[in-house]
């Protein structure tokens, strides 16, 4: 997008942050919550009251509110607040890594398919094949090869994200390809790489951002499911899905161990879904009423 075009695209009057927040309360709330969640995850080592691995078996399963533990302790006598912060950290990192890696590869495939029509059929059929496998199956296969761990989860979620991102990118790239500026860029003899990076990619960025944010929520849910099955984070690493899995055994006796991480997963997924919706509303003018 050139500077002139950007000027045209800019709304006539830029509303203040507060006014925007009042007009779009859901978007504002989700953006704020996402920032807070990310901050909590990044600052976990500073915020956490205790060491995440330090246990005190005499406090095992302490109920929330006892012994000065606001959220209680887990079955190993570890502070739930600390575990939750570090669990959030691991879960968010897992989500970001999978979306960036899978989304990045998917975007490259999508651009290649849209730009080089000879590759289109081959690449997209490959993506169709990938799409036909459930992510859990990838998780099982990759965990069997590399051994269970966060890496296995990130890899399987990335693989599962690639075809989705490739399809989205190809779709919006094909639309952009028909625009006059693309013809113009070719006419002045720009190289393929330059056209893709200067003209194609920026025009697809909004749909990539929207999809990435929505996918982030899904990836966290899937990753937690994989961890719940024991394929993800290995003890003593705190990860929300793994924490829920471990606490499930004691559901009748100490429900907080499983319920608290589940609530956290719910909040994270909800926030990023709302944020994705809000982003789509903001970035996709066609949807504006």
């Amino acid at each position: 997008m050139s500077a002139a075009e950007a000027d045209l695209a800019r709304p006539a009057r830029r509303p203040g942050l507060l006014r925007w927040a009042l007009r779009e309360p859901v978007a504002a709330f989700s953006a704020l919550a996402a920032v807070l969640l990310i901050l909590a995850a990044v600052l976990a080592p500073a915020l956490a009251p205790t060491d995440p691995f330090d246990n005190d078996l005499s406090l095992a399963m302490a109920a929330p509110g006892t012994e000065g533990l606001l959220l209680g302790a887990d079955n190993q006598g570890r502070d739930m607040i600390t575990r939750l912060l570090f669990g959030l950290r691991a879960t968010l990192m897992m989500g970001f890594a999978s979306v960036l890696l899978g989304g990045g590869i998917g975007a490259v495939v999508g651009f290649a398919a849209a730009f080089y029509s000879r590759l289109d059929g081959l690449l997209m059929r490959c993506m169709d094949v990938l799409l036909s496998f459930p992510a859990i199956l990838f998780g099982l296969a990759i965990a069997a090869i590399f051994g269970p761990g966060i890496l296995a989860v990130v890899l399987s979620l990335s693989v599962a994200t690639v075809p989705l991102m490739a399809r989205i990118v190809r779709g919006s790239a094909l639309v952009a390809m028909r625009q006059d500026y693309m013809v113009a860029a070719r006419a002045i003899g720009m190289s393929d790489a330059r056209i893709i990076f200067r003209h194609l990619a920026p025009n697809c960025l909004s749909s990539m951002c929207v999809f990435g944010t929505l996918r982030f929520g899904q990836v966290i849910l899937l990753g937690s499911a994989l961890s719940f099955l024991g394929l993800g984070a290995q003890p003593p690493v705190a990860e929300l899905g793994a924490m829920a899995s471990e606490g499930r055994t004691y559901l009748f006796f100490a429900p907080h161990i499983a319920v608290i991480p589940c609530v956290m997963i719910f909040v994270v997924v909800l926030v990023f879904n709302l944020l994705g919706d809000a982003l789509r509303d903001a970035l996709d003018p066609k949807l504006r009423v």
Binding site: L57, A63, Q76, A144, P235, Y250, F253
Partner: protein, 540 residues
């Protein structure tokens, strides 16, 4: 103390709530009675076995049914050390300890009505030790020279060398007598599609991973003398598999099941408070958890590391928090109640002392690294642990992991699902492993795990010591029980001094049963609570 009270109160409240919830799910108590019909005992289990052929499995789950379906020549008393008559009324042992002569009981029949004779014993033992049968526990039969039927009711069991624990092994379910005609007819499907034994119950049907139905053997009256009744008191037994612990407990509470030994420890305290349920314990139970060190791997080969691990782990805290007070810290390699336990050797097992652990590591040159893990000559003090993925293994090993971390040893835990776990435990990939196992006696336990011929499984430590092998042979061949106790006692000392294991926990055996079940007394042979179950009867 204050906390534990609060916690217990909370737990009680929650359990009460859960119990109410289940009660609410059922319209009335009659409904429960409908679920479990009259004179049918519904036994709940955690897992199913792959097959029920005594010669071709070693699973505790298989024993649960095989002890009911068939009989052994001799039986085991509640004390787990006195041998009582079974299919054999009496027996004599030759002077040199190599020939056992069994006098068989008369009037015994198989489920199909065929009379039981000495030929069946000969066939069963020969099939068990035949390499073609591929029994995982063939060694338990001893080094058999020949098993002969002298007449219809006399069997001579001749060994190449004395085997002082033969009778203990013949009491295990592996030596259960099977019917030749049925085995030949079903081939490898024996114990899958059908069974024919002399036990108190007969095979009716089996739906793998769901349920097994057994019906009363009508003429059975030759039960072991440890029971008050020589015959079964219940018409049918339905053995139902419910893998998930909470669901299984809910089934017992709601009356959908009558009895189970598969109780998660955290539930014991709560179950005790439910008036409609009965809990019974077998105090003499040998089923231990241990962590073994692979003694030929870089870090685990260092005796200082193995000693420090033994010193660093607070087993009493694990007994309280992970086993909820139901388990017992294993202070020695063998249970004090087991045959040939050596109290002297138990003193050589290091007991919890974290400071001492740090001193041992310091003295051996393991210096603390920047990340809290000790280093020696560029080698990090890190151990990779393999085990089966169970709730107990996971929480127990995380507690061990935290204890080791405090002294500067890193434990990387990798637990596997049972379907791949046994395969993983047979590899050379890990430095340490966790396993739990049932045993009969010190010689039994040590022969299984420490003989060099049993590498790489079950001797996963790769412990290769000629002195150990010699002691095991001497113990097995000892003619005099005292001589055996001495040689196996010395071996316990040697293994303890080398810290080949970290003995962890002794698993308790509890059985929970519903109000209508009477006469429950857990036995625990090879981990099986019900054993013959002859005194069990239903009041409704």
């Amino acid at each position: 103390m204050q906390l534990s009270k609060t916690r217990r109160r909370t737990a009680r409240g929650l359990l009460g709530g859960a119990a109410l919830m289940f009660a609410g799910m059922l319209p009335a108590l009659d409904a429960a009675a409908q679920v479990a019909p009259r004179n049918t005992l519904v036994l709940l289990r955690e897992i199913d076995a792959d097959r029920y052929d005594p010669a071709r499995t070693s699973a505790t789950a298989a024993g649960e049914a095989i002890f009911l379906l068939s009989d052994t020549l001799v039986s085991m008393d509640w004390d787990q050390r006195t041998i009582r008559p079974g299919l054999a009324e009496s027996w004599t042992v030759s002077e040199d300890g190599t020939t056992y002569t069994f006098k068989l009981r008369q009037g015994v029949t198989f489920c199909d009505g065929k009379p039981f004779t000495a030929k069946d014993v000969v066939y069963t033992i020969n099939r068990w030790i035949d390499p073609a049968t591929r029994s995982p526990v063939r060694w338990r039969a001893g080094s058999v020279k020949e098993v002969r039927a002298v007449d219809d009711h006399t069997v001579e069991y001749e060994l190449n060398e004395p085997f002082s624990e033969l009778l203990y092994q013949l009491a295990q379910y592996f030596a259960s007598i099977v019917d030749e005609a049925t085995v030949e007819k079903l081939g490898t499907n024996f114990g899958v599609q059908g069974f024919n034994g002399t036990g108190p119950y007969c095979w009716a049907s089996w739906t793998p991973r769901q349920e097994m139905v057994l019906t009363k053997h009508p003429t059975y009256n030759w039960g072991p003398p440890i029971y008050n009744n020589p015959s079964p008191q219940v018409d049918r037994i339905v053995m139902r598999v419910i893998p998930e612990a909470n669901t299984r407990l809910a089934a017992v509470q709601s009356g959908q099941g009558d009895i189970t030994q598969w109780i998660p420890y955290f539930a014991l305290d709560g179950l005790r408070r439910i008036p409609t349920l009965k809990l019974t314990q077998q105090p003499v139970h040998f089923y231990d958890h241990f962590m073994g060190f692979r003694v030929d791997k870089p870090v685990a080969s260092d005796p200082a590391i193995r000693r420090a691990v033994n010193l660093a782990v607070n087993k009493d805290a694990i007994a309280k928090a992970v086993f909820f007070g139901a388990g017992e810290a294993a202070t020695a390699y063998i249970n004090p109640n087991a045959l040939d336990y050596s109290a002297e050797a138990a003193k050589a097992v290091p007991q919890f002392n974290a400071d001492e652990a740090r001193k041992v590591l310091d003295a051996a040159g393991w210096t603390m690294g920047p990340d809290g893990v000790r280093v020696k000559e560029g080698q990090r003090a890190t151990l990779l642990l393999y085990g089966l993925q169970t709730a107990i293994n996971s929480s127990m090993m995380q507690a061990v992991q935290a204890d080791l971390r405090r002294v500067g040893i890193e434990l990387r835990i990798q637990l596997w699902d049972a379907t791949v776990g046994w395969g993983k435990l047979a590899t050379q990939e890990f430095d340490t492993f966790i396993i739990s196992y049932p045993y009969v006696s010190a010689t039994d336990a040590f022969s299984l795990y420490f003989h060099s011929a049993n590498r790489p499984t079950p001797n996963r430590m790769n412990w290769n010591d000629p002195e150990t092998d010699a002691a095991l042979v001497a113990a097995r061949q000892a003619l005099d029980p005292e001589a055996r106790a001495e040689v196996i006692g010395k071996l316990q000392q040697r293994i303890a001094e080398n810290n080949v294991w970290l003995p962890l926990m002794r698993q308790p055996l509890w059985v929970v049963s519903s109000q209508r079940v009477e006469g429950v007394r857990p036995h625990g042979i090879y981990g099986v609570a019900l054993y013959k179950g002859l005194d069990i009867r239903l009041t409704r």
